[in-house]
């Protein structure tokens, strides 16, 4: 309105977000003339609104209406005439040398971590991590911001390697993280509704880097699942500039932000085609698929009818549903007569009224119980990992780090050890 | 006792009768022999010598110290033995464990519990010192130790083994919340607070090492549960809540510090609307049993007070009636930074509420000279964002 149509505009925002909005607009150059009634204005009686309008702007202490009128009538100041978008200084490549203890404190007190112990990203460790890809360390991988209008931060292959070292990763994990970074999706997008994310890996890389697709895959019992999921959150904090109360506004927050429900799909025991093949990738290609939502119902038992009922009863803001199910469930759905995921999608669309494309299925688990997990997660995208893998293959340690393998149930007999 | 087990193929649940007939007439896949004759044999073949005098191999006591080794090899040892959650740990050197033990006056060798993630397998015993070892590994400081000792003493694992992927929740009340810098406000359940992160993780590491959790062997969760990483570790927002704190409702004094442990499966985090909507959601909730723990932002508690619910008890009675369930199955926690009047419905049931004070040193919580604090979220300054 202001620039294009030359019509003065008086934006109104509730006082709760005053600091945020003023800082945000300063960083965008244009000094819009905001006025701030008390928060919130939703779900409250009319009488309160009348008082707000007759009362003062709690942020500035001046009468609200006077502020609104001034916004449209007081002549422009010099500063308002020529807006400046402040150019923020870049961060140094290296931090000042210090003792390990002080550096651990610096990373925590600066809010560069998730609060858990990190491996300090020394030059030596970052160099070793970079052997996990042939890509040039200075190649820009993408830009990210957890908020919508904030300045995005740009990051290179080396910056991804720095966060990989911090998370406890090895070079063999780097291609997966570079693929995630290339999507430019933060794992904790800022919303007062507290978003969660989910990460599913498909293709040969799952086995090569020892991910867990079977028993207890979603629990903290697998090295790759843990450090890859965590690295995505560290990247989101450091590339997306997540600062709680400032850019990150999730009221309660979401516990899944720690690991982002990271797993490998159990393609071997699933009777359906793998998720990435559904999205047009070849089975032998390795990919990451990203989802985002709020609700995770961890305990589902019963047939397709029951699954649809649970999804229907799930109050959610988005008409979407993503099921994560044990191979036993997938096989019992086949027995129920659903030959392909497409048929499943049609059935669920009918039962819930959601569009078929918005319903997803993935198979994971160790076949100790025919269980399924219901979520309202929306699928955002699938990204190839292969282009980040070195020419001569995934860079593995001489003796790759592996946690004890869960005893995966061999098909059919699936005996349980004593 | 060498019971004579006979193994039909898995599973026997949710499959058609003809298939079961096939199992009975078929082969025991483990032994390769016909199933029924094996069953008859189990009842008729005479006892072997071994079966006559059962012997249970007594597991040897573990040494207090591990053989000295380089840092790198020790990291590998901890990961390859499955003693961690996969994320980096701080190696528990004698020096660090001694420093951690200054967090309590209790005798390091005092046995404070036995735990197993299963109901029937051998429980592992642990001392105050062992809890300190876990605390160091998790990245804690001495100020966190009292909370961990209180949790350890309940002998409750964070993920009791069942094939149905349990998850748990830690909720702290009382003065200790602010003394050790826990987050009960904005983004409390997200990884932005040092104490919330390391305390939640420590319970997982305890459950692995004291509960002897070994996937596929003692730990049978088919899919697992992502909440097992941090166990929803947070503190209740007593200051901004319109209701009395959780622990006061359970009979503790406000100035007492307590930790409450919950257990459940479902986290249903995105709901708006008045008490009626809460009852409706609980009624529709699909889960085993009709238990419900509501996790609500302080704004919701203020709305509910406006709706006329003076106490949690009044609200509990109303919701129980509307949702046709038992009042004592319903609990309320207030946490959040008042940027959105939302509430989450979970099917979590409280296992226990225990005092933390008995584990705190006489001279008070042992704080570092300059305690480590991550950036504090900018909380809503009272007044301009109140109702």
């Amino acid at each position: 309105m202001e620039d294009h149509y030359n019509i003065p505009t008086a934006p109104i925002v509730t006082a709760r977000f005053a600091d945020y909005i003023l800082k945000d607009s300063r960083s965008h150059g244009m000094l819009l003339r905001y006025s701030f009634p008390p928060h919130p204005v939703g779900f409250i009686p009319r009488s309160h609104l009348k008082d707000y309008i007759k009362g003062n702007d709690p942020y500035t202490g001046k009468p609200l209406m006077q502020e609104i009128i001034d916004a449209l009538t007081k002549p422009l100041t010099e500063e308002e005439k020529n807006p400046v978008v402040p150019k923020r200084p870049g961060h140094p490549r290296l931090l000042p040398p210090d003792t390990e203890e002080n550096l651990h404190r610096l990373f925590l007190e600066s809010g560069w971590t998730d609060g858990l112990p990190i491996v300090l990203p020394t030059e030596e460790r970052v160099a070793e991590m970079l052997t996990g890809t042939d890509a040039d360390p200075n190649q820009v991988v993408g830009r990210m911001s957890i908020a919508y209008y904030e300045e995005k931060l740009e990051y290179t292959v080396e910056k991804v390697a720095v966060n990989a070292v911090m998370a406890g990763c090895r070079p063999e994990h780097l291609p997966v993280l570079l693929a995630i970074a290339a999507t430019q999706h933060p794992s904790l997008p800022s919303s007062t509704t507290s978003f969660a994310s989910m990460l599913c890996v498909n293709g040969p890389i799952r086995r090569e880097i020892g991910m867990n697709c079977g028993l207890a895959a979603l629990s903290p019992f697998n090295y790759a699942n843990s450090v890859i999921g965590r690295a995505w959150t560290l990247m989101s904090i450091n590339f997306g500039e997540a600062r709680p109360g400032d850019t990150f506004m999730a009221s309660t927050g979401h516990n899944l932000n720690y690991n982002n429900m990271t797993f490998g799909e159990n393609e071997e025991d699933s009777p359906f085609e793998p998720f990435h093949v559904e999205k047009g990738f070849k089975p032998e290609e390795s990919t990451v698929s990203i989802f985002r939502g709020w609700n995770v119902l961890g305990l589902g038992l019963g047939n397709a009818e029951e699954m649809a009922k649970v999804l229907r009863n799930l109050p959610s803001m988005a008409p979407t549903g993503t099921f994560v199910m044990d191979p036993l469930v997938a096989r019992s759905l086949i027995d129920e007569g659903f030959k392909t995921k497409e048929e499943l999608r049609k059935f669920f669309a009918e039962k819930t009224g959601y569009p078929p494309f918005a319903i997803n299925f993935m198979v994971v688990g160790g076949q100790t119980n025919p269980l399924w997990i219901t979520t309202d997660f929306v699928y955002t995208e699938t990204e190839s990992i292969d282009k980040w893998i070195p020419k001569d293959g995934i860079r593995k340690d001489k003796k790759p780090l592996r946690m004890p393998e869960p005893l995966v149930c061999k098909d059919g007999i699936c005996t349980l050890p004593g | 006792m060498f019971l004579r087990y006979v193994f039909p193929p898995h599973p026997v649940g949710f499959i058609p009768k003809e298939k079961l007939r096939g199992y009975v007439d078929g082969i025991n896949p483990v032994s390769g022999k016909p199933l029924m004759p094996e069953m008859v044999e189990a009842l008729t073949k005479p006892l072997t010598e071994e079966e006559k005098n059962p012997v249970i191999e007594k597991r040897p006591k573990r040494p207090r110290l591990l053989p000295p080794d380089t840092e790198e090899n020790l990291y590998r040892l901890f990961i390859e033995n499955g003693w961690t959650d996969g994320n980096p740990i701080i190696l528990p050197t004698e020096e660090r464990v001694a420093e951690m033990l200054t967090g309590t006056d209790r005798d390091p060798q005092e046995v404070i519990g036995r735990m197993s993630v299963t109901t029937h397998q051998e429980r592992l015993e642990y001392t105050v010192e062992k809890v300190a070892v876990i605390a160091v590994m998790a990245g804690c400081r001495p100020e966190h130790l009292p909370v961990l000792l209180a949790i350890a003493a309940t002998e409750i694992p964070a993920f009791p083994s069942s094939t149905t992927s349990f998850s748990s929740m830690i909720m702290v009340n009382g003065p200790i919340r602010h003394e050790i810098g826990m987050n009960c406000g904005l983004a409390a359940l997200s990884p932005f607070n040092y104490a919330n992160s390391v305390i939640g993780r420590a319970w997982t590491l305890m459950s692995i090492n004291f509960g002897d959790a070994r996937p596929g062997d003692t730990f049978m969760h088919s899919l697992g549960h992502p909440i097992n990483y941090n166990n929803l570790c947070h503190a209740e927002n007593e200051e901004d809540s319109a209701f009395e704190p959780y622990h006061v409702e359970k009979g503790f004094k406000p100035e007492e510090s307590t930790v409450t442990l919950f257990r459940g499966w479902n986290y249903n985090g995105i709901n708006l609307g008045p008490a009626k909507a809460m009852a409706e959601a609980l009624k529709r909730q699909s889960s085993m049993g009709r238990a419900g723990t509501f996790i609500m932002d302080p704004l919701v508690s203020a709305h509910l007070k406006d709706e006329g619910f003076k106490t949690k008890e009044e609200l509990r009675q109303y919701i129980a009636k509307e949702a046709e369930t038992f009042p004592q199955m319903i609990n309320f926690i207030v946490v959040g930074g008042q940027t959105n009047p939302m509430w989450a419905l979970t099917d979590y049931t409280p296992s226990i509420t225990v005092s933390i004070d008995e584990w705190i040193p006489k001279t008070g919580i042992k704080k570092d000279e300059k305690p480590i604090r991550m950036p504090q979220p900018v909380l809503c300054k009272d007044g301009i964002c109140g109702i």
Binding site: - | P11, G13, L47, R62, E94, L124, E125, Y126, M137, D212
Partner: protein, 125 residues
Amino acid sequence: MSKKLLTVLDPKGQPSGIFGKVLDLKNPMAILDPEKQPTSTLEAMIGQKMADRLDTLEGKTVYLVETGFAGAADFMKEVEGWFQRNMPSVKTVMRSKRGNMFTDDPELWQEIKEHGDAAIVGVGG
């Protein structure tokens, strides 16, 4: 990582010789609280002996006890069918264990003691 040698403490709990025991019917929810769960010791468990086996099942009474897991009852019916087809002289008695799959059922064991020669119990899983 420096090559210096470090000594660290062992993080695992110590074997305690204490084992969980089947729950008594009066308190089926005890499973949720370790302190209330009945326990047994290594010594007590070693003291338990297995029963002498029967010379044959022909003409005997065999109790088929289903423990409550999904599919157990159907499975036991199939076992009963097998006996009727292959060993008709065996008298089978179908029973469901009271409480849930984790609780003891002393009355049922007493009944089997009085009227039965053997028991087939299942299906765990």
